[in-house]
């Protein structure tokens, strides 16, 4: 069944929109804002707020009834491809698969200096009560911190005989994160280890659906939990038998 946004009643379609136009506040600017709203599919759009910003910009808040609808049942929703496992289970899988500790290498790469997200996944303390990968007895975690170049990371992956490489990317302006993630993938390919590692990326503005286009085994987004990452790693080595690496 098709649904539309719910403002105050079923199917009223009401949505709120705000944007700035590079126009001085004027009737023409209003008309332009309404025209854009119509193009977005807002029926009977109302400009409820217009604020001049300096003398060549105008900020608008609008409400309107969206003409578009969507049938949620027809949408492809990614089922999480791996099962969530308890730590003991994860450790057991690793032991069985690798017969040694799994080596997990993590870094925030390129010019990105953010480490809180990476540490949330790696460090013993973890995130929101969920312990990090360091707490798994069958993992050996090497946290390289931030601002690590793709080359250094690839070199360390070889040196440490890494089973998994975890890349954190927080800064997204001008698509910096995509560029940095690609650099790591290319460096791993160039050094011939891409197929020997599970390659995982993460950051608040990434979503799992980007895994394929980025050539990663898995991308994690906002609010990712260490236990999810650990479960994925266990599932991945089990299902793909990377123990040969």
């Amino acid at each position: 069944m098709d649904i539309r946004p719910y403002g105050d009643a079923p199917d009223d379609g009401l949505v709120q929109v705000s944007f700035t136009l590079p126009l001085a506040a004027s009737e023409r600017a209003r008309a332009a804002a309404l025209e854009l709203a119509l193009k977005m599919g807002l029926q009977r759009p109302q400009i409820v707020h217009l604020k001049p910003i300096g003398d060549s910009f105008s900020f608008f808040v609008l409400y309107g009834a969206l003409e578009h609808s969507v049938d949620p049942e027809t949408l492809e929703v990614e089922e999480q491809e791996f099962p969530l496992l308890a730590p003991a289970e994860i450790n057991r899988v690793i032991r069985e698969q690798l017969r040694r500790q799994m080596v997990v290498l993590g870094a925030s790469t390129g010019t990105d200096a953010h480490t809180v997200g990476l540490d949330a996944i790696l460090s013993f303390k973890g995130f929101a009560g969920d312990k990090g990968l360091e707490s798994y007895s069958e993992m050996r975690v090497v946290n390289l911190g931030s601002q690590v170049s793709a080359q250094d990371l690839a070199a360390r992956a070889i040196a440490e005989r890494a089973d998994a490489v975890l890349v954190s990317q927080i800064v997204t302006q001008r698509e910096a994160h995509l560029r940095h993630l690609s650099e790591v993938r290319e460096a791993l390919i160039a050094t011939g280890v891409r197929d020997k590692v599970v390659l995982v990326g993460g950051g608040p503005r990434l979503v799992p659906a980007q895994s394929i286009e980025l050539g990663y085994d898995r991308i994690f987004g906002r609010g990712a939990k260490p236990s999810e990452v650990a479960s994925f790693l266990a599932w991945k080595i089990a299902s793909h038998d990377r123990s040969a690496a």
Binding site: Y6, G7, D8, A9, P10, L14, Q16, Q46, I47, V48, H49, K51, V61, Y63
Partner: protein
Amino acid sequence: MRKPPFTRPVGRLHLDASSIAECRALAAEIAEPLNELARTHTTKSIERAVLRLIGVDGVSPGADGPIPVPNLVVDAIEQSVGLGRGALVPLLHAVETGCGHIQSEAKAIADGATPVVWPDGVELEIAVTRARAEADLAEQRIRAAAAQRDRLIAEVGEAPKPWFYLIVATGNIHDDIPQAQAAARNGCDIIAVIRSTGQSLLDYVPFGATTEGYAGTYATQENFRLMRSALDEVGAEVGRYIRLTNYASGLCMPEMAALAAMERLDMMLNDCMYGIIFRDINMQRTFIDQHFSRMIHALAGIVINTGEDNYLTTADAVDSAHTVLASHFLNERLGLNAGLKEDQLGLGHAFEINPELPDQVLMEIAHAQLIRECFPNHPLKWMPPTKHMTGNVFQGFLYDGMFNLVGALTGQDIILLGMMTEGIHTPFLSDRDLALENADYVFGAAGGLGSEVAYAPGGFIERRAAEVLEECRQMLTKIADVGMFDAIEAGMFGDTSRARDGGRGLDGVIPRERGYLNSIEDRLGDALGIA
């Protein structure tokens, strides 16, 4: 919910206690003639309320749609034996001489099948006896609902104060319900279903579940029942008894009170002047109606909310701040006179000053704290910004937050949560949810300031509060001088002038004649000790 322990900070402003006492004395003086008016008059709505309380209900078909039986009965009595002696006796006489069943005989009168007769002698005595018996039943019914409230609160749990109060207003009771439940699940303690525009001008209460209100949902007994049970359901789920509010206001004020009492509503907007000023309802009608309504609320354990905040939508919030306080003293006195206890007097306020004025927040604090200190035992209702809310929803969200903060600082009991879209439309589901997040944050994070903060002695806040109190004292002195009717005619409240014989509903005011009987009023008066 992360509300810190609730306290009502007092003694912060070093107010002049004798000035406050003088205001109370003046309010009592002003209220006396209004009391007398109520004692000597009845209204059509009072009589209909009485009939409803003894079980008259339902509608009969009419030319322009169904007409409530209580209206038809009262009109039939008016047109036959007159209303000056009340509606109870003629109806119950018909009942006693007829089949004995109230609703059947009421229907018969409504449909013109049974003529209205004023009984004499023994028949009168029989009718009066029945009236007293019915009054006992009505009292029991009201008390039972109140007891049921207490039981449920004990069972599911009481919400910690301050109570977060939200409005639903879709116009359709079936849309209101899921919205109210969603709000309760996310932290709301009180749901008010606001009424359709125009309902307050209807001289009858619509019937049944309704789906077609404008900017509000019709208040009907069935809608009350549906919402009450939906809130009981969600209350059990969330472990907090969720209060329900509606409006005992407009031409049917007493009937709304009766329905609220029977359907276990918990709070009612019930102001002695709102209808006069903002709906142009006749002032005599209103003062008479409010008295009986409040007696019902008193016994029902319903907390009333007054609406002084509204004055400052038509008058200036700085210049007229004292009118709010003056009206509070009047609403308090009239409430106490009708048997309400202090803890049922949810005086409503907020002094919404233009946010562009310097020191706006300091003035808000001064005013709010002043009310807190003048009414230390009253469950005050703190209102959000409305008039100065624009289409800038972001800035509006902040204004709401600052009002929440002032409410927290000054220990207000009931917090009506502001809507960021107040300047635009009746609230969206999401507006309400965001408002709850706002309040949850402000009260959780800053609520403790109430017991932590003191204001500079002789500082801006203290001086401003003293000034408003003094202006209030002067205003009450003047009103005591000219009387309430003149004061309203002079536009002293809300900058709006109303004539004593103007507005709607004066035709429904009837002087009580010798032989007038309202056994329910008598019963309530006894029970409340205000005979």
